[in-house]
Symmetry: D2
Subunit: 164 residues, 4 copies
């Protein structure tokens, strides 16, 4: 069965506006990235929103949860800004228990020659196929369960919450 | 525990010789690719050989098997040319049963801006963390057990052997 | 005799800050660009400042003029933000008459895979070798004398001021 | 008046065949390179042939000369393999005297992320606009008259023939 990819924006899909010198969102690059990666995984790509995750509202988050809950597919990848990725993961985990959902993102926009975006996409698509039901964050080649991940802002990477 | 990455050459690591216009091997790009992908997975990289997989001999293959068998790590990624990847996977499977070994490769050299190399590396590193003991081939975002994969040379991609 | 390259910042040398998602200046990429372009032109690279040309003050501009006037080389390339490039060109033209000075820039940062930066650098380095004394702007493969160029902000390109 | 660009093949336009691992020619990338370089120079692009310059015959060379001689434009850029670029330049110089013709090439195929191709194209398009009638070779940021250039095969670059 196909894997659903829900696009919500984030660094992944930021573009550089040549005229203003500012970063903005246009269309998602996920399909192009999968083509360049020669992916043959059957996917359905849906753009739910295109926002910086720092701007994401509760209503936005509810919409992502709803998209996960109502998807007919059992395996879902969510592309998401890294700043509030754990918040959205928690919201999904509260509402969805019978699916494997993997959130991923990038530190560098794909349009700027992002290598981590492509690496992370390959990683997320693989973890979502191999892992049991649950909500996960796949970043930096690692995979965390939603309640054990946090972003280390100083280092710009995700890490395991110790203890437990 | 760390993941061992065994480098054997293949398209992944081919270079373009500016003076002769020919393709050749120099050093592996795996460490650079992991750095660009912002990987934080603990890895040990060993270059076992640097060959085109069409040139790989039985002795070469035995050396790869030996490296897998003697590795103290339980999880191993092998980068390999795609043409005889399934042969090497079968050889490893005959000798190693208590580890997770994932073979991966690329259709385009990394030095030529290969997007599939980075995508596949992210994928292989993820499958090797998530899958139970066994020998697998991770290509095109998919993962096959060693005895169910074949390369479709016309399409330039791997596919599942039907039946079973 | 060598060509002097004066670096002043501009889009050419902007970087993406992975942690804040903002654009900023670090070091110039000119030496790296020349290396990738296999340039064998003898050059002396001096970073005069690293600013967005919209932030450039009269004092900044006077410093660039002074660097042009005092350079022992007869041929000078100035990398510069495009927004006020013509202002700086005019200031140089008022003070320097016995040299060939070519200003150039980019619409996309080099760090984002800028193709126009490399194209423009090859262009500016060539015009500066071939043209008689004067102050010029080399953008988009064209070369304008300083008093006949203007930036068309809507189209994001330079054009000839009509008339004569 | 427009600049004519005559495409003859060479490293510039080589492609990598994913299935065979060999290099080959398909279509020229010149139009795409000019687009990425944001070139606004009016050009007419003609593919005369697509060959490795080591394979170029006398008949091929005569065809290039004829294309230069009959072109209505006064300014012509010829993209060409570097190995026999000086031979073709000499042949053009014997037949064409009332035009500015600049030959250029690349050490790395554009499809492999060639930075020298884009740099050289910007350079050749600029020299052809600025130089008087004659036949030139523009490589490595430099420009040589046809009878004073030679390729240094060991260093993979062009140099001035000393003396004269």
């Amino acid at each position: 069965m196909a894997i659903r990819i829900l696009v919500t924006g984030g660094t992944f899909d930021k573009e550089y506006n040549e005229r203003t010198g500012e970063l903005y969102f246009k269309d998602t690059h996920i399909a192009e990235m999968l083509r360049l990666g020669r992916s043959r995984v059957e996917v359905i790509i849906r753009t739910v929103m295109m926002v910086d995750s720092l701007q994401m509202t509760d209503a936005d988050r509810a919409l992502i949860v709803q998209n996960c809950a109502q998807a007919p597919e059992e395996r879902i990848v969510v592309t998401h800004g890294t700043d509030t990725m754990t918040d959205t993961a928690a919201a999904i985990a509260r509402a969805v228990s019978d699916k494997t959902v993997v959130l991923t993102g990038a530190m560098i926009p794909y349009a700027f020659g992002s290598s981590d975006g492509l690496f992370n996409l390959g990683s997320a698509l693989s973890f979502v196929q191999a892992l049991p039901h649950g909500v996960y964050i796949a970043m930096n080649g690692k995979c965390f369960t939603w309640d054990r991940a946090r972003k280390n802002r100083e280092r710009g990477e995700f890490e395991q919450i110790p203890g437990g």
